[in-house]
């Protein structure tokens, strides 16, 4: 009887111990752990194992020290430690993404759920932390446009936080891409705001502004659209504000159409505000695609900025002359077309004399865009930033039925 009682007690104790072990090894399944709410701390706990990380990081740190002592170039050392860390987390990553089969080139990527995306974001953060712990600060960040201006001791932490926060927001954005509901849009805004708060804890006010201007998608778009164009800081900021305002009232569906939720009157107010900030002349230069291309070309070719002034004078004069020809009641259509075509040839010749033959050959697509309508018997007008063709007849239209 006594033996039985002892056995029972031991077995019950073992039940308890094993239960704890099983719960530790089998938390809830991944698919049940996430929802559209922020579970960041929980995900982080899931993917961190301090004990394991500690021993691994010691090894990676020792290894980096030894490789540096061996005289291995820093870039190779960093690549090696990075590969070791990647290897260490490979099974975890594969478990998150699950097996991928061989597929046809036109078969779509297997769908990645929000849960998987968030798990990968947390995993990347852990890897980045392991890299920093093992290798110390990355000296190459001093040359980076985004982080180089920060104090050396801040760069790596800021980079890690910014990349983490961006990836986190991007995971949610990707999940609701295309058609976010109002609630989802509000949720993403709150994540953006949280991101700013986290960065504000690491950066001073001016540093945060600079990081914003260097890393925000709108700022990057403004810079890309003006590649090679000599912009001033105020011009950049005016265009940035304009784009930001339009974006906040626009839903973009990639590959399809753009729905702008501004009335024509509202859009005019926004446009006028930009014209006021840039001045009419610069507005025409910076908001016209061809003009921006020319401006970058002139700058790249080492021509003086006065070349652009001359270009715009030629364009405006040609537009005015073309209207004069088109509206001249004393000439017939055939004569008008011949005169417009001759005007186009003159305009091209004037461009070539300002730009030189080599640069003018590069400018041919813009000349075609601006003066091509003259060759086709139309006048051109300059309206704000746009060049528009204008038919030589001014008879008001009547309506006829479209037939197949």
């Amino acid at each position: 009887m006594k033996t039985y009682r002892i056995l029972l007690l031991v077995s019950l104790a073992l039940n308890g111990l094993l239960y704890v072990l099983v719960r530790t090894a089998h938390p809830a399944q991944v698919s049940q752990r996430f929802s559209l709410s922020d579970r960041r701390p929980m995900i982080r706990r899931e993917f961190q194992s301090p004990a394991r990380s500690h021993s691994d990081r010691e090894l990676w740190s020792d290894m980096a020290r030894d490789l540096r002592a061996e005289g291995m170039p820093e870039a190779v050392t960093r690549a090696w430690i990075g590969a070791e860390i990647e290897e260490r987390y490979r099974a975890t990553k594969e478990a998150i993404l699950q097996a991928r089969k061989v597929r046809s080139v036109w078969e779509p990527e297997p769908a990645v759920s929000l849960e998987q995306r968030l798990a990968l974001v947390e995993l990347d953060r852990e890897k980045a932390r392991a890299m920093l712990d093992a290798l110390g600060p990355d000296a190459s960040l001093a040359d980076s446009a985004l982080y180089g201006f920060l104090a050396a001791e801040k760069r790596d932490e800021v980079k890690m936080e910014l990349e983490y926060q961006n990836a986190y927001v991007a995971a949610y954005r990707e999940n609701v891409r295309g058609l976010p509901t109002a609630a989802e849009t509000a949720w993403i805004r709150s994540l953006e705001s949280e991101k700013r708060q986290k960065l504000a804890a690491l950066l001073s006010g001016p540093e945060l502004e600079a990081v914003d201007m260097l890393s925000s998608p709108i700022a990057q778009r403004v810079r890309a659209n003006n590649e090679g164009v000599p912009l001033t800081q105020n011009e950049f900021l005016a265009i940035y504000d304009y784009r930001e305002l339009l974006d906040s009232h626009t839903r973009m569906v990639p590959g399809e159409t753009m729905a702008r939720a501004l009335t024509q009157d509202e859009a005019r107010v926004v446009e006028n505000d930009l014209i006021q900030k840039l001045g009419t002349q610069r507005y025409g230069e910076l908001m016209n695609y061809g003009a921006r291309q020319l401006s970058a070309l002139v700058d790249r070719s080492g021509l003086p900025s006065s070349a652009m002034t001359a270009i715009f004078q030629i364009r405006d004069s040609v537009a005015a002359q073309s209207l004069g020809i088109a509206d001249d009641p004393s000439t017939g259509a055939v004569e008008k077309k011949a005169a417009l075509s001759a005007l186009a040839a003159t305009a091209r010749a004037q461009f070539t004399s300002v730009l030189g033959a080599t640069t003018a050959s590069a400018a041919a697509p813009v000349m075609e865009q601006w003066f091509g309508p003259l060759d086709r018997g139309m006048a051109v007008t300059v309206e704000g930033a746009s060049m528009k063709p204008k038919a030589i007849s001014s008879t008001p239209p009547t309506y006829s039925r479209k037939t197949q």
Binding site: L18, S49, R52, E70, A75
Partner: protein, 410 residues
């Protein structure tokens, strides 16, 4: 012992032994749960706990003085470095990364000297710099030499993703073809860093010459079948179709019809009549029901709608119902246009009613929240119909509209 004793005094040993047996069984079950190969978190972490060879290498080092295991590991001779890494039993994927970085390091100074000089821009400006024609040629030669060295040292990556279409190409050739494309593309990208950049005649000629040279190298390397498979992978149309197919799970027979359709669409070069003919042929191959699913899936607006319907917990048929409304509007607007008896006012009024009805049907199908998200996009075609346009979309991601009545100058 009498039978009367049993009910009055429960058998403690019997119940106790049953309890003990249950407890032991429970222990066995717990033990089984903790065993190797069980699913769940253990699968994520246990696999990661298997020490890679690095740990063995370093542990060996720690037994002696620090650094013993890696002493003599780094040598500038790349063949010797590779031999050292392999001798230490480092995993192949780590070796590939280390060797890749060492090869890059070998060429870094020469490459940097040829790259366009970075302009120290303030944050509000951006210049990618300009690359001269001679520098571009030298850089290409350097990159080809580097690729050759990587191919000689490491050979094809056994873990590289292989597409079904290119499984017939030997791995060495796949690696070389990928290098040719990457090397030429990288130099072309430096010559034309953005699509907006205007190129001089000399730069344009060079870009064209580089494209032709890359094509010639690929033709020399691959036989016609291999070349077709490789080009199919890198074709712009393939990438588009890949996106368009979205959630449409094609059977093998359907795959063959889709493959033919992909070729026809690529050859149509944006001509609406050819695209329409390809659509009709595919429709007859897939059958009406499957074509409807395919057409739903390949249109971004409906793929996005399917996503938001799923996130909102609505049945998937609601998305399909909106697709049917869209098709009805398409067909009905054409019927209105083609009605020989309709006058301008009557036709414009019918078009307006068509759009208004479609809008309210969409709202009824999707509910206010999802409908609001969808209509923010769908207004791009609904508002056109409301204003008297026939909207047609024979290619999946572009929309053309034509007014029923249009201005005519005398």
């Amino acid at each position: 012992m009498t039978t009367a004793q049993i009910p009055s005094r429960p058998s403690v040993p019997l119940l106790g032994f049953l309890f003990l047996a249950g407890s032991l069984l429970l222990n066995l079950w717990f033990g089984w749960q903790l065993g190797p190969g069980k699913a769940g978190r253990s699968e994520l972490t246990e696999a990661a706990k298997v020490p890679p060879p690095l740990h063995a290498v370093l542990d060996q080092g720690r037994k002696g003085s620090p650094g013993t295991a890696l002493t003599g590991m780094y040598v500038s001779d790349l063949h010797q470095l590779l031999a050292n890494l392999r001798m230490k039993g480092i995993s192949e994927s780590v070796i590939r990364t280390v060797m890749g970085a060492a090869i890059d390091e070998r060429f870094r100074a020469q490459e940097n000297a040829l790259l366009p000089r970075p302009v120290n821009d303030p944050w509000w400006q951006s210049h990618f710099g300009t690359m001269g024609v001679e520098a571009a040629r030298e850089l290409l030669a350097l990159r080809r030499e580097k690729s050759q060295l990587r191919e000689d040292l490491l050979g094809p990556d056994p873990e590289a993703e292989v597409w079904e279409n290119e499984q017939g190409i030997p791995p060495e050739k796949r690696m070389q073809a990928a290098s040719i494309t990457a090397d030429y593309d990288a130099v072309i990208k430096l010559l034309r860093p953005t699509a907006d950049r205007l190129l001089t005649a000399e730069e344009k000629d060079l870009v064209e010459a580089l494209r032709q040279e890359a094509a010639a190298e690929l033709m020399h390397l691959l036989d016609p079948m291999e070349l077709a498979a490789f080009q199919e992978k890198s074709s712009e149309y393939t990438h588009r179709l890949q996106q368009e197919l979205g959630g449409f799970a094609a059977s093998d027979a359907e795959k063959s019809a889709l493959s033919k359709y992909a070729g026809q669409s690529a050859d149509s070069n944006g001509r609406e009549d050819l695209q329409r003919a390809a659509n009709e042929e595919l429709q007859s191959a897939l059958g009406e029901a499957r074509y409807r699913e395919f057409d739903f899936n390949r249109r971004l607006q409906f793929r996005n709608l399917a996503d938001v319907v799923q996130r909102a917990g609505l049945p998937p048929e609601r998305g399909m119902a909106v697709y049917d409304i869209w098709r009805r509007v398409d067909a009905e607007s054409q019927r209105i246009r083609d009605n020989p008896n309709g006058g301008m006012e009557q036709q414009l009024s019918e078009m307006k009613s068509l759009a208004i009805n479609a809008r309210s049907q969409i709202q009824a199908s999707l509910g206010p929240e999802v409908a609001s998200a969808y209509l923010a996009h769908a207004e791009s075609w609904l508002s056109k119909v409301e204003a008297g346009n026939v909207v047609s979309s024979s290619s999946p991601n572009s929309l053309s509209s034509m007014p029923v009545w249009f201005p005519r100058t005398r």
